[in-house]
């Protein structure tokens, strides 16, 4: 595969500062800052989101005070809070990716994809914890499942999403810095002149 000239790419894109190269598809993206934590959903992101979601679900089903707090509220109120939270999360992801790419279409697509994968992870974690905690039975009323689902998802999203984004972003920036450091070290080492 053709080697990419990152310095030339940056020069051509003016003020833009960050280049991200998707090794899988071969696409290269030039952004204002690092938004790899929104653009890609990698194994690292999945694991962090899944673990923290599972912790959130375990907290919901394990703690009596949290469980009763949610069960004291009406289903309509819980669903309203859930929808508000979804809107806030999508707005947050869209605004960050919009500032990085200067394109609303790209930002919407990225945030939608990231939101979709996060929701998939949360639903998976909820299903596993629900089945293993014994709070589910086939003969149970569907109302119980719906209320448990919306309540748990609110708690899970509040715990897992910030942790996922923060950990992914920090590790991305750190690995980028480490790569730059290694490159500058290599450049500093003078080439050996052929001796007589």
């Amino acid at each position: 595969m053709k080697k990419l000239d990152f310095e030339n790419l940056l020069k051509r894109n003016g003020k833009r500062k960050h280049i991200s190269h998707d090794t899988f598809s071969g696409e290269t993206f030039v952004d204002n800052f690092n938004i790899d934590f929104i653009r890609y959903f990698r194994v690292k992101s999945f694991l962090v989101a899944f673990i923290y979601s599972a912790i959130g679900a375990a907290l919901f089903f394990g703690s009596d005070s949290i469980y009763t707090f949610f069960w004291q509220k009406s289903l309509g109120g819980i669903v309203a809070v859930f929808l508000l939270m979804v809107a806030f999360i999508l707005a947050f992801l869209t605004s960050i990716s919009f500032f990085a790419t200067d394109s609303l279409k790209k930002a919407l697509r990225m945030s939608g994809r990231r939101g979709f994968y996060n929701s998939f992870t949360i639903i998976l974690a909820f299903s596993i914890v629900l089945a293993s905690s014994g709070n589910f039975s086939w003969g149970q009323q569907f109302y119980v499942l719906v209320k448990n689902f919306f309540s748990a998802v609110i708690l899970m999203a509040l715990i897992s999403l910030p942790a996922d984004w923060l950990i992914t972003f920090v590790t991305d920036v750190m690995s980028e810095k480490a790569e730059k450091g290694q490159k500058s070290k290599k450049e500093k080492v003078p080439e050996k002149k052929p001796g007589p």
């Binding site: 598809s25 979709f116 589910f136 039975s137 003969g139 149970q140 009323q141 569907f142 109302y143």
Partner: protein
């Protein structure tokens, strides 16, 4: 073909160089041979076009080419899935005898029908993007993503339809809800994929 045209040229030269032929006959022969050569050239061009077409068709089988079309679920694709699901699913869902039949079915058979339909949808999507039934390891990752997108797109529509038809209610048991969801999802998935096939 090229060899044929060289043979024609040799025959033409030898025929034209014959001394017993008059000038008029020679020009007539020349014209005949030239027109034949033109026909052969035209035949060659047509054949080349055909070869190029088949080569270009073969390129679609390259999984990296198909990647760009499969990995981006555009609004158009989403709309196609939704419309296909409604067009093919709604007539069945509105029909009361369909639900009577579903109530008679065993839960495990509903589950197996769902798995079988999902598998068929994966095969159909693979064929839709690669024009072949064989699976590719690299492409299967993209295919799984695409299937997930289609599955969830259809699920959203199915949930709305079932709620509006009172086939999902809060007072029902989990088992009834899951049975209704699985069977409706199978029909909806099939409809979504069939619609994109028809559009092609």
């Amino acid at each position: 073909m090229a060899e044929g045209s060289y043979a024609h040229k040799d025959i033409a030269r030898s025929t034209i160089s014959r001394k017993d032929l008059s000038d008029e006959e020679k020009t007539k022969l020349e014209k005949k041979i030239l027109s034949q050569l033109n026909r052969i050239e035209h035949g060659e061009k047509v054949l080349l076009k055909k070869i190029n077409k088949t080569v270009e068709k073969g390129k679609v089988d390259d999984p990296r080419k198909a990647y760009f079309s499969i990995v981006h679920l555009s609004f158009n694709d989403f709309a196609q899935a939704v419309i296909g699901c409604c067009v093919f699913g709604l007539p069945a869902f509105i029909n009361l005898s369909f639900w009577d039949y579903v109530d008679l079915m065993h839960t495990s058979s509903i589950f197996f029908v769902h798995i079988f339909f999902s598998f068929c949808v994966v095969i159909a999507q693979n064929y839709e993007f690669r024009n072949t039934f064989s699976f590719d390891k690299w492409f299967s990752r993209m295919l799984a993503k695409r299937f997930l997108y289609t599955y969830f797109s259809v699920l959203i529509v199915i949930v709305v339809i079932l709620i509006s038809l009172n086939k999902i209610e809060l007072a029902m048991t989990n088992l009834d809800v899951v049975r209704h969801l699985l069977i409706a999802q199978s029909v909806g998935l099939f409809g979504a994929v069939t619609f994109s096939f028809l559009k092609r």
